[in-house]
């Protein structure tokens, strides 16, 4: 029993450490996304109208979003912010692999890598179907 509880204890400490790392990086990701979205929203309030694009339109290709962001078009900046937000869970999975690796938890390095691979497959399927 003692050995069992000792093992639980080390697992728990290790987990707290892993969670802190992931939490901190996730926080950075969320703040970056929020600041860009807020910046876009402020631009939209200043310029008014339809965010620098014809009514009913918004940039949806990577090239048009980049071009629009360089030109500081509100909608383009807002799209960049939202894209960063969409990427935060993916970032979380990637950082988790690293964190589990750092703590020598091989089983969970595998499990998390499998999740990332499936996630990548679903990105590809999502864009072809």
């Amino acid at each position: 029993m003692d050995e069992q509880s000792h093992q639980n204890q080390t697992t728990a400490n290790e987990m707290v450490h892993i969670e802190r790392i992931i939490g901190r990086i996730l926080q950075v990701g969320v703040v970056v996304a929020a600041v860009i979205m807020l910046f876009g929203l402020i631009l939209l309030l200043i310029h008014g109208g339809n965010g620098g694009y014809p009514v009913g339109h918004q940039p949806t290709t990577i090239s048009s979003i980049i071009a629009g962001t360089v030109a500081l078009k509100p909608y383009a900046v807002m799209m960049v912010g939202m894209f960063c937000l969409i990427m935060t869970p993916v970032l979380r999975v990637v950082v988790s692999i690293y964190a589990f690796y750092k703590e020598h938890d091989t089983l969970y390095v595998w499990i998390t890598s499998i999740v990332l691979v499936i996630l990548c497959i679903s990105f590809v399927i999502g864009h072809t179907v």
Partner: protein
């Protein structure tokens, strides 16, 4: 325009608080507000809901990770099931009749609501078994969290891992095909089947639903279903709401969260049964 923005932020704030506390995506609040009150096309409402799910997930997960409420290993392990289910759902669209999925998963949620009500009446949140579950021990799924309403460390064991995995597979399939229930099924799988306490179940559901949503979100992002003027103020409101909600949840007694959760899950379940009966 400013008026729309402020409404979106307010809706987001409310949805973020509720979503973070209950472990739900907030689509149940956002979709009706956008379609019925704002008269937005359902296509754009779904796009905004997907962004809402991710904002709720990432916003609340920061606190749940820092305060060690969620169970990262359970989340990672079950994400295999939800992501595979999600892909299957996308591929099976048009092959499988959604009618049966609505009936099956509607019934599951109603069952879960009933089961939660029984737990509430029994008044016991954590069940300590004498023997630990073999699979859960092997996968190191058993966990512990500090309950800020009871001021004590709560250790819990995870059971029925295969059943939980199976429900998650179905949950991924259903949310991939029907676009709903991002959080309701996850909480159900952990609370009802794997016997986890409600707080870690809700926090873990919050963490997981972001990953499930991210895959479909890029599709909506590039096909123009996500309107920046709607989704951005909504997302900002939700982020603030989720940060608040993830703190409120920890000091609320689990019993109170359960009392709020039961009618919500019954409502979603009955709505799905209704859709199944009238033919989706």
């Amino acid at each position: 325009m400013i008026q729309t923005m402020l409404i979106m932020m307010a809706v987001g704030l409310f949805a973020g608080v509720a979503g973070a506390i209950l472990g739900l995506g907030g689509g149940i609040i956002i979709t009706p507000v956008l379609t019925l009150m704002m008269g937005l096309d359902i296509k754009y409402a779904i796009g905004a809901s997907i962004i809402a799910v991710i904002a709720t997930s990432s916003g609340s997960t920061i606190a749940y990770l820092r305060d060690d409420v969620l169970n990262l290993r359970v989340a990672m392990f079950l994400e295999i099931a939800t992501t595979i289910g999600g892909i299957s759902g996308a591929l099976l669209t048009g092959v499988l009749d959604p009618k049966y999925l609505y009936l099956l998963f509607g019934a599951l949620l109603v069952f879960s609501g009933w089961n939660m009500w029984r737990k509430l009446r029994r008044g016991q949140e954590v069940m300590n078994n004498v023997t630990a579950d073999r699979i859960a021990t092997k996968l190191k799924l058993n966990g512990s969290y500090f309950d800020k309403s009871e001021f004590k460390q709560v250790d819990y064991q995870v059971e029925q891992v295969p059943q939980g995995f199976l429900v998650m597979l179905g949950a991924g399939l259903a949310s991939g095909m029907l676009g709903i229930g991002s959080g309701a099924f996850k909480v159900t799988a952990m609370d009802t089947f794997m016997k986890m306490p409600l707080k870690p179940s809700s926090a873990t559901s919050n963490l997981m639903m972001g990953v499930t949503a991210a895959a479909s979100a890029t599709v909506y992002f590039f096909n123009g279903s996500i309107l920046p003027n709607i989704a951005v103020p909504l997302a900002l409101g939700i982020l603030v709401g989720a940060v608040i909600g993830s703190r409120v949840m920890q000091v609320l007694p689990a019993r109170v969260i359960r009392i709020i959760f039961i009618p919500v899950i019954l409502f979603i379940g009955l709505q799905m049964l209704y859709k199944g009966i009238i033919g989706g």
